[in-house]
Amino acid sequence: MKSVYEYFLRDLKKWLRGRVFVLTALIMPAAWLVFVGMALPTRFTDNYVGFITPGILVMTMLFSSFQGGSLMIFDKVLGFMNKFLALPSPRESILFGKIAFITFRGLLQATVILALAVLLGVRLPGIAELVFIYLTLGVFGVLGAATATTIALKVDDHDGYAAVNSMISMPLFFASSALMPYRDMPEWLRVLASMNPVSFATDTVRSMFSGTIEIGGIAVLAVLGLIVLGVSTYMFRQATV
């Protein structure tokens, strides 16, 4: 699996050398936390920043993963996939490299959010809970990145991907427990939200913040992740240009 690392390194280097993108990638989710957490007129709970921090963390992973799908679109449109698919290294390492980079980048962004949240007065949980928060975000990131990259493999161009992206990631976010507690949701939303992987991740992270380590959510996400990884691996092995 050395080739996974090589693909990861390639994307990482390219990202770090486009400095502006690094900056915007870190600022964008921070802006969400400040605007949504501080400035939104409706407040469902007393400590709303504390309440939505887990939601914004998961949102950051979600949006970052789906945005990461465009890396695959670039590689396809610019002809890199033609070269990579003809190499003897296992084709799924292209996929795993992308997942590794996208998830890594998402976790970096999440760390910035976490630091900002602390500045805004959110109390960090203990070290064990913190490790589990990262684990949850990581598993969720892998799930998202694998889904996004595989969709991108099948979509023709940037416009097509942008459409799919907004059609999936926005509804997933808004129909989840990220922004409001279940008790304040209308019935139909509660049903949707309770089946939404974004909610599984958010609820899990939220429980970690309140000091209870709850791994049911991680388990569900991990199972989903494995299924998607299996399907994606197969699709990369069969890929044609």
Binding site: S3, R10, G18, L78, G79, N82, A86, V241
Partner: protein, 317 residues
């Protein structure tokens, strides 16, 4: 032993038959696939490099089936696609090291230095590719393909859009590789290049192979010389031994002949006999272009707007 064999290789894009029952056998040589845009050259290369599945027929590279044994095929080949794809934010060296590692060659660093040296890029290796010229980029792609020692090298239009000097350089390298025992399968629509550098060529048009052989052999088939006469008056019929009237264009007559010098005399005599006034008379050797015209007809550009070329142009500025 044949390195590449195809039998009835066919590929449809929906209803369009881009490659139509192609049979090829390629040994250790520089083999050129010639044809106009849209003839199906890239589609053939993509099937041979396991990027596309044939709709019908089969193909083997180094004895491995391109569908059933795709991984073994990929282990034996290198491929430089028609469209350039290099990471311009990485240095030349980084671009090559990536491929060395992906091929899993031992001593990736050393092999990279060697490949860069071989293609004359050693002194610019640590600059970002952003600053490379078109010719350097193409050579860098060759370096990527040559960090591992493939048995077969696929080059899809390797000289497209390059200036004469850069093209010469690419060809020198390709020739050196063949001397080392590599098979080179390449496509081009520059007939003159294929004539000079390929051991054998196949002419393809609308997915069908219309001629195959050595450049010399193909030219010999249609006659070694082309005589062009510009005259005034109405030319009659010609029946000269070893001379064939190819076409009449305004007041220009084009003949094919076996031996140029003999034919020249005979033609000039015949033209005078018919009472035509000769303005000019010239003889040249047949080229692959002539073969192409004979076998296929006018090489009009049948392809629709080619998005990939347009993009390539934009990127090269």
């Amino acid at each position: 032993m044949s390195v590449i064999v195809t039998e009835n290789l066919t590929r449809y894009y929906k209803d369009l038959c881009a490659v139509d029952h192609v049979d090829l056998e390629v040994g250790r040589e520089i083999f050129g696939l010639l044809g106009p845009n849209g003839a199906g050259k890239s589609t053939i290369v993509k099937m041979l490099t396991t990027l596309l599945r044939p709709s019908d027929g089969r193909a083997c590279v180094c004895g491995h089936d391109v569908v059933k044994d795709a991984v073994r095929v990929r282990e034996s080949i290198s491929y430089v696609p028609q469209e350039m794809a290099l990471d311009i934010k990485l240095t030349g060296r980084e671009n090559v090291v990536l491929f060395a590692r992906l091929y899993g060659v031992p001593n990736a660093r050393d092999r990279t230095d060697e490949a860069l040296g071989l293609l004359g890029l050693a002194d610019r290796a640590d600059e970002l590719v952003r600053g490379y010229s078109g010719g350097m980029r193409r050579r860098l792609e060759l370096a990527q393909a040559l960090v591992h020692e493939p048995r077969v090298l696929f080059l899809d239009e390797p000289t497209l859009g390059l200036d004469v000097a850069a093209r010469e350089k690419i060809w020198e390298h390709v020739h050196a590789l063949k001397e080392k025992g590599m098979t080179i399968f390449m496509t081009t629509h520059y007939m003159d290049e294929a004539d000079r550098y390929c051991d054998r060529v196949a002419i393809i048009d609308r997915g069908k192979i219309s001629a195959i052989g050595t450049p010399q052999g193909l030219k010999g088939e249609i006659g070694r010389s082309v005589v062009t006469a510009s005259v005034s008056g109405e030319p009659g019929a010609f029946s000269l031994e070893g001379v064939r009237l190819l076409k009449v264009d305004d007041h220009e007559l084009v003949f094919m002949a076996g031996d140029g010098a003999d034919a020249l005399a005979a033609i000039s005599q015949e033209l005078k006999r018919q009472g035509l006034e000769i303005h000019s008379l010239s003889v040249r050797e047949t080229s692959l272009d002539d073969v192409f015209l004979q076998k296929v007809g006018t090489p009009e550009d049948r392809s629709a707007f080619d998005g990939s070329k347009y993009r390539l142009m934009l990127r090269r500025r």
